[in-house]
Symmetry: C2
Subunit: 354 residues, 2 copies
């Protein structure tokens, strides 16, 4: 009963502009180490006993070349590269992945994971996935609840219910991003954890639940896969069928409704969504080359192409990020607003800079 990593890498993180951009989004960049975040995600599972050595990749067709190049660079052969003509949210992704896995290996477990997160203690994470495998085999869709380190208002939460075994518990409720007071209450109660957006399941379980709660998604995704065009490892989903598939998250479509949701919590694996430059700054082991010159400056993140010398004089807690002919300067406490730059560029028709 191998666990098949299904790595989602079709998104574009606008809050990490300009490094993350349409041509090469966040996950394909060396944000925190000398490998890309996508490569780090793939290698997290590669060679681990119990995990299938050929991951399934699901992404936008625009990134097929990037994906193949980055996999080749780390010596990993994909099981398949499922390519969406456009993003239709995570329920469609889960449906395509479950359909693909079910056809490939009836005994498989699918592990649906984002490719753009940092995990500082990968062994703890792998152990948790293994622990959750029995529940998944028993027909649960297992989620992973990150031990909350602070009353964060930027994440969704999972409320744990009845204990199943070990750290596995039924899900009492999924909670959307809370306000500060609610988040503080969640933290104090000990019953809530951060929703990392990771799912472990038998393909049949996922297909059945989608059939109950999101039949339109299941139908559209199934037809898009059935009519797909295959070129080597690339599986191009049928554009017409996929366009007709409802765009909805797997949380809204299935997880908030199913009686088969479990959560493994607390998971303490130094998880970080690296969703903003401030989050990147917190975990990056990358250093700019040449080293910046800092005069009376501290706490700044400098993420610029090699060969650009940055000098900082009398500044604190700034983010300096550059890529090609684009340069961002912001404060660490404003990094969540970088998406506004992308919006402003879009709104003013300056699409070449996205």
């Amino acid at each position: 009963m191998a666990i098949h990593p299904v790595i989602m890498c079709g998104g574009a993180g606008t809050r990490l502009w300009p490094v993350s951009n349409q041509a090469c989004p966040k996950q394909f960049h060396r944000l925190v180490s000398d490998k890309s975040v996508f490569q780090e995600t793939v290698l997290r599972f590669h060679g681990q006993p119990g995990f299938h050595p050929q991951p399934v990749i699901i992404s936008n067709a625009a990134y097929a070349g990037l994906i193949e190049d980055q996999l080749a660079a780390i010596g990993v052969t994909p099981g398949a590269i499922l390519l969406e003509p456009e993003g239709r949210n995570t329920a469609a992704v889960a449906a395509v992945a479950a359909r693909h896995l079910a056809a490939m290996d009836e005994t498989a477990l699918g592990l649906l994971v984002p490719s753009d997160h940092f995990i500082g203690r990968p062994d703890a994470f792998i152990d948790a996935v293994r622990e959750a495998a029995s529940a998944a085999a028993d027909g649960y869709i297992a989620t992973f609840g990150i031990a909350p380190g602070r009353p964060e208002t930027g994440f969704g939460y999972i409320q744990a219910g009845e204990r199943l075994a070990g750290r596995l518990q039924r899900v009492a409720a999924f909670k959307e991003k809370p306000d500060a007071a609610t988040a503080a209450g969640y933290l104090a109660s000990g019953r809530y954890s951060w929703n990392a957006g990771i799912f472990l399941f038998r393909p049949e379980t996922m297909l059945t639940e989608l059939g109950h709660y999101a039949p339109g998604v299941l139908d559209g995704a199934s037809r898009a896969l059935a009519a797909a065009r295959t070129v080597g490892a690339r599986i191009f989903l049928d554009p017409a069928a996929f366009a007709a598939t409802p765009s909805i998250s797997i949380d809204y479509a299935v997880m908030e409704h199913t009686a088969h949701a479990a959560v493994l919590a607390p998971l303490d694996c130094a998880w970080n969504d690296i969703g903003t430059w401030t989050a990147v700054a917190a975990v990056s082991a990358r250093t700019a080359t040449p080293a910046p010159v800092e005069i009376d400056s501290s706490g700044c993140l400098v993420h610029v192409p090699e060969g650009l010398l940055v000098a900082l004089v009398g500044v604190e807690d700034l983010i300096v990020a550059a890529d090609g002919n684009r340069l961002l300067i912001t404060r660490k406490d404003r990094a969540q607003d970088v998406g506004a730059v992308v919006k402003a560029l879009k709104d003013s028709g300056r699409k070449d800079w996205l």
Copy 2:
């Protein structure tokens, strides 16, 4: 009795790093308009009745090509380009200039001016030079006292004495950069003005005063010019003779001692020494192309090469200056410390970045 502009452009302003650098210092950059500061200085006099149409340029030999290119671009032919093998301060410059002019035109007046200052009201400046010409013809070395707009501690001051005529007064004293309390007293008294480092004189007057108060400078500079090598408009001062010339400012060498110092004050011509990025920000009419994207940001100066898009999120009063593979970020109230970057690079042997 033509006034011959003698434009000094051999210096390098390290506080405007990285745009101002060894290869191309401050005065040769388009800091405040679509012309370089040097070009603006040349054009300030060009075509003005009473001013010789062919300025004398005095600079470091390293910048001969830059000077010729920038003069050609504005259609100005130099009278001479006097080239120093190394900088020996302003007394040597004044001596070379006076010696050169005396040989060229006995009736000339020499107007020794820095090339790296901004003058917002050039007509007011030209009028002041014309007004000072009679005093210069009478044997004074006329200086120009800028009406002080604030108790600035970064400039030297000129204390006015007995009135000669109009705005022309004898100099009572030259004062070095004062502390804040002293500067406030200067401002309140109405007798002090900023020393702009501009001098108008008959060449014979300057040579006579140098002979009295700085005979070593006069001797070294005279021999460097006598032994100079001429190639077209370029006059290369003799390296050995020039190296033996004492390095001292014209203020210390002559102005503080001579009985023939006059000051035209107050001169109100929107003068700015553009010595720091903050000063540049105050007068620049230059806009970055493409226009920066500013989200909740204000008061920032963006001085970067054309084609670099800068986005600012939640920052105020920053200086962002880039040139080639170098980027500076500082605050407006720390701009006077940018020279520390150049010093740090020198001290760590990273001379390629200067």
